[in-house]
């Protein structure tokens, strides 16, 4: 059988979720820039919870999302995810991230367990040459990247995988399925140029980026969905997944 992750978490240090997000929040005119790169297998396997499988090759996506408006005002987030499989389903296991809006940080933490640090700059800009993404925290650029001259592609060619967020809920560690829906109006693709990419600052000190893939940019409506599923991070997903409202298996 496939390899399982090597990390068996406890609740120590995890964001505590009291009430899982049950509202659908639609945000129009959202832009999402996704950087993708491979990482080496052994540290990736060690970083994944035991419920998840690493794909081959393991890879990360760094997702920068800029929303002109929302229930907590305009905001931009930048999250690093280590991609994995829950049985045969694709998930992006969230390692860490930043936002420029403290109300949004609180909303995503309360609803999904996302642990986003508030940074002085988290930005995604459309430039005449393409796109530019920056995250500056404590005066230090942890992401500074551009995508030059991206070409047009079809929105249907771009795939966004759901988040899987490790948090504490009901006194136990859980993987919360943070699901999205999206309607893409415009999509581009190009290769990234990094001036700064500090994955350690995003919670992944052991993962070294290698073999960079094309970056995608999409614009459209982005919807944060109610939580439907929880997973025991210490058990295989086939045994440890439950619907919200159902008791955890003993």
């Amino acid at each position: 059988m496939p390899i399982f992750g090597g990390y068996k978490p406890t609740t120590a240090g995890l964001t505590v979720v009291k009430e899982l997000g049950q509202d659908r929040i639609d945000i129009e005119n959202a832009q999402t820039l996704t950087f993708t790169f491979e990482v080496l297998s052994e540290p990736a396997i060690a970083r994944l919870p035991a419920a998840l499988h690493p794909p081959f090759p393991p890879y990360c996506s760094l997702v920068v999302r800029a929303c002109e408006d929302g229930p907590y005002g305009p905001f931009t987030t930048a999250e690093l995810r280590l991609h994995a499989r829950a049985t045969n389903h694709y998930v992006g296991y969230v390692l860490g991230g930043f936002t420029d809006n403290d109300r949004v940080a609180a909303w995503l933490a309360n609803a999904y367990g996302d642990e986003l640090k508030v940074a002085e700059t988290v930005s995604l800009k459309r430039r005449h040459y393409g796109f530019e993404a920056k995250v500056i925290t404590d005066g230090h650029a942890v992401l500074d990247a551009v995508v030059d001259n991206p070409g047009f592609i079809a929105g249907v060619d771009v795939l966004h995988v759901q988040n899987s967020v490790l948090a504490a809920f009901d006194g136990a560690p859980v993987l919360i399925a943070e699901e999205f829906e999206y309607q893409i109006k415009e999509a581009r693709r190009g290769f990234p140029h990094y001036h700064a990419l500090d994955v350690a600052a995003f919670g992944a000190p052991t993962l070294a980026p290698s073999n960079h893939l094309p970056t995608t940019w999409v614009a459209g409506t982005w919807s944060y969905m109610p939580v439907r599923f929880l997973m025991d991070p210490t058990k295989p997903a086939a045994a440890g997944t439950r619907k919200v409202g159902q008791p955890a298996a003993v």
């Binding site: 390899i3 592609i153 060619d157 893939l213």
Partner: protein, 368 residues
């Protein structure tokens, strides 16, 4: 209807010193039995780096061994990856010709372009270009085989005039196929006049629609070489006297296959490109399989159960217009070898007679 067996050659962890040898030995034993039982084809994939899912990067060597141990069954190289970073087209032509010769004209040549980033990225191939390189190579191969000498000045490769030798035993050349995973590739097959080697688990209605579209287009094709007007599909096979045992074992096989397949990184997943609008096998295996224990019964198109059920299933596939079905017999050795062999024997005894004998001559095609 023609029946074939299809190998990914999946190898379960833990990988001890004997694991891969044992799996290869099991597969070869199955091929020898399939030959004795009257199966028409054995197909073997070309995959690289696909941990557990497929340890079959050199199918021409596996198929050479099979050819040496069998008499009738055709050997299908399914497929050659027609991406220059992975296979130079001259080497595809040369290897195919040798395999056709040593098998005394029993080779079918599959072509394709890989559906995973695991493979394409490993060879630093550009996913945007694989459709074009496939088309260029597929048109060059028959010329390398049929012309005494050949020169090529193309986009993905070029060569000065040389004699690409040896020439295949079958004349003008072995039947050619393309692996069909993405929607629309069956049309590419028809336009090139080559067979559509289905590698996805469509439902009956979708398969019928694809076969009709293929037949319509191939009538007016611009053939790459000799026309091979055939459509095959793929399925799981587990045949047992007890329908419930057959279905449950077959579901375990399908579920294990789907589980292993989903651990790969498809090109579609990480490299947004119009060249890869499909996940390949994954959506189909998700529908055809599920987490073990969750599925109430097999899908209507899955050839698992007792002979009576499998005959019904295959009659439905035959009604879609396909010319043949190729079966996956195992995945990660989840079915013990003795049960795989028993399943093949029961299928040959109880299921095969319900279908017309293969139109393909059992004896090798004579060279001119």
């Amino acid at each position: 209807m023609k029946f074939g067996i299809f190998y990914e050659i999946s190898v379960p962890r833990p990988w001890g010193p004997e694991t891969e040898r044992q799996v290869y030995d099991n597969c070869i034993e199955q091929c020898v039995l399939a030959d004795e039982l009257g199966f028409d084809y054995v197909w073997a994939v070309e995959h690289h780096f696909l941990e557990e899912y497929s340890h079959c990067p050199a199918p021409e060597i596996f198929l050479s061994t099979v050819a040496a141990k069998t008499k009738q069954i055709r050997v299908g190289h399914g497929i050659n990856v027609c991406v220059p970073e992975i296979n130079h087209p001259i080497r595809i032509a040369e290897r195919s010709a040798v395999l056709d010769i040593v098998s005394h004209g029993r080779l079918d040549v599959g072509t394709g372009r890989s559906a995973t980033w695991t493979e394409l990225g490993g060879f630093r191939a550009n996913p945007d270009l694989t459709k074009a390189t496939w088309a260029e190579i597929v048109r060059a191969l028959p010329k390398m085989w049929m012309n005494e000498r050949y020169a090529h000045d193309g986009v993905c490769f070029s060569m000065p005039e040389r004699a690409v030798i040896p020439k295949p035993y079958q004349k003008p050349h072995p039947p050619m196929w393309v692996a069909v995973t993405s929607p629309g590739t069956e049309i590419d097959a028809a336009e090139h006049g080559i067979g559509a080697l289905g590698l996805t688990f469509n439902d009956f209605a979708e398969q019928e629609r694809r076969v009709k579209a293929y037949r319509k287009v191939i009538e007016t094709c611009d053939p790459a070489g000799a026309v091979n007007d055939q459509v095959a599909t793929v399925n799981f096979l587990f045949c047992h006297e007890d329908n419930n045992v057959g279905q449950q074992t077959g579901l375990r096989l399908a579920g294990t296959f789907g589980y292993a397949a989903s651990q790969l990184v498809s090109a579609r997943e990480v490299y947004a490109s119009p060249s890869y609008s499909s996940f390949g096998l994954l959506p189909q295996v998700r529908r055809a399989s599920a987490v073990p224990g969750e599925m109430p019964g097999p899908p209507p198109g899955m050839a698992v159960g007792d002979p009576k059920r499998i005959v019904e299933v295959l009659k439905n596939w035959e009604a879609t217009g396909v010319d043949g079905v190729n079966f996956l017999l195992n995945a990660l050795e989840t079915v013990p070898q003795a049960e795989v062999l028993a399943s093949l024997r029961l299928f040959a005894k109880e299921v095969m007679p319900a279908f017309k004998a293969s139109a393909r001559p059992k004896t090798p095609v004579a060279a001119e």
